[in-house]
């Protein structure tokens, strides 16, 4: 079943077009990789899909409903309850412990402290970082920090996880561990994942892949080459 859908998304930053009519669908429980060279519009597409950015044209539908027609407050609530976001690095609050970081979204959503902490510990356990629950980010390895950030993105049990180059700052094995966890969670919770990456070996964890080139989807997957007579 289609959970999230984008139709003909156009987005520019000033005179610079970032997306030029991208259409994409995401099924429930599906992991979709969005690949392509730097500057092809991958992150902009992720931001449009997650409702952080409003497209200039085209529409994004979540559960069959247009995101664009919802109020800003409504979209922000959706981002808190139904969407989780994981970036390359630097998402954790340095002054808080791992458990406090992971509990944060639940506390902000009005859950009690005890309930939030229990859920946080449970997610740290699932991502195999329970041993650093009481450590601060500065005391953890990059891989541990990123798995804590993943726990924090997943603690609200979102329907869709948006991951933008989540392994970009990790070594191969730490990256592999994180991706192993994300694919397992996607299967167990039926969480859909949008995985933005420029690496073929990371995209290989996905069920399906779309490649962007110059802000449009490229069915050949080959990326940057522009044929003679095309746009330079």
């Amino acid at each position: 079943m289609t959970l999230l859908q984008a139709r003909g998304i156009v987005k520019s930053y000033g005179p610079t077009p970032a997306l030029r009519g991208v259409t994409v669908e995401l099924a429930e429980g599906e992991i979709l990789a969005v690949t392509g060279p730097s500057g092809c519009g991958k992150s902009t597409l992720l931001h449009c899909l997650s409702g952080i950015l409003r497209p200039d044209a085209g529409e994004v539908l979540y559960g069959g409903q247009r995101l664009g027609t919802r109020s800003e407050a409504d979209r922000s609530r959706l981002r808190r309850t139904d969407f989780g976001v994981l970036f390359q690095f630097g998402q954790l609050v340095a002054e808080l412990t791992a458990a406090e970081n992971v509990a944060l979204p639940l506390l902000l959503a009005g859950k009690g402290r005890r309930e939030a902490r229990t859920a946080a510990l449970n997610w740290l356990e699932r991502l195999e970082v329970a041993d650093v629950a009481d450590s601060r980010p500065g005391e953890m390895s990059g891989g541990q920090q990123q798995r804590c950030a993943a726990a924090r993105a997943l603690v609200t049990e979102p329907k869709v996880l948006f991951a933008d180059e989540p392994t970009g700052a990790l070594d191969a094995l730490a990256g592999e561990r994180l991706l192993g966890h994300l694919t397992r969670v996607a299967q167990e919770q039926r969480t859909s994942v949008v995985l933005v990456t420029h690496e073929a070996s990371v995209a290989a964890y996905a069920d399906r892949e779309i490649t962007l080139r110059d802000g449009a989807s490229d069915p050949t997957g080959l990326g940057a080459y522009v044929p003679a007579g095309g746009r330079p």
Partner: protein
């Protein structure tokens, strides 16, 4: 038929040539591989002629030994086309054949047509990459399975990076020539 035989066919696609010129052209196109021996060139041409893929085109004796020119036949052209259309099984050791094919595809077809071949090859590589990645995430896989998958993934990943870089590089050259 060997990769070298197909490369000779590809070199003849540009027009008839002598064995000596074929050897030089081969060594120029693949500077980092082992130079092809004269004996191998003539032996291969003999077999290609026997199979009707090339034919003799007249001789010249400009003060030197006999120099026989060879030309590609229609059957030879067909054979070359079929070889280029056949996707290599993605495996750790295809690299040198893959290199030969990409060079030949660019040589015979030019970059825009070669893209079709490259796109299919990329698809085969990414599909294999996905299969191997599934081996790594399968809790039933043994350490040996995972290590073997890592090995193959690293090679496929390197092939893919190289494929993309080649396309970008060719596009850059193309832009310099046709700004």
């Amino acid at each position: 038929m060997s990769t070298a035989a197909h490369v000779l066919l590809a070199l003849l696609a540009a027009g008839p040539q002598h064995g000596y010129d074929l050897k030089k052209a081969h060594d120029q196109r693949f500077p980092k591989t082992r130079p092809i021996a004269f004996g191998q060139v003539y032996g291969t041409l003999g077999r290609l002629e026997r199979d009707g893929l090339v034919e003799k085109r007249g001789q010249s004796r400009e003060g030197g030994p006999d120099r026989t020119e060879f030309a590609l036949t229609d059957a030879g052209r067909e054979k070359l086309r079929a070889w280029l259309e056949e996707i290599e099984t993605p495996a750790p050791y295809v690299t040198s054949t893959l290199l030969a094919k990409v060079v030949v595809a660019l040589l015979v077809n030019g970059v825009e047509q070669a893209r079709g071949y490259l796109a299919e090859q990329r698809r085969a590589h990414t599909a294999r990459l996905r299969e191997l990645t599934a081996v790594k995430t399968d809790p039933e896989s043994s350490l040996g399975d995972v290590i073997a998958a890592d090995f193959a993934i690293a090679h496929l990943d390197a092939d893919l990076r190289w494929l993309h870089t080649t396309l970008d590089r060719v596009a850059d050259l193309h832009r310099e020539v046709h700004p």
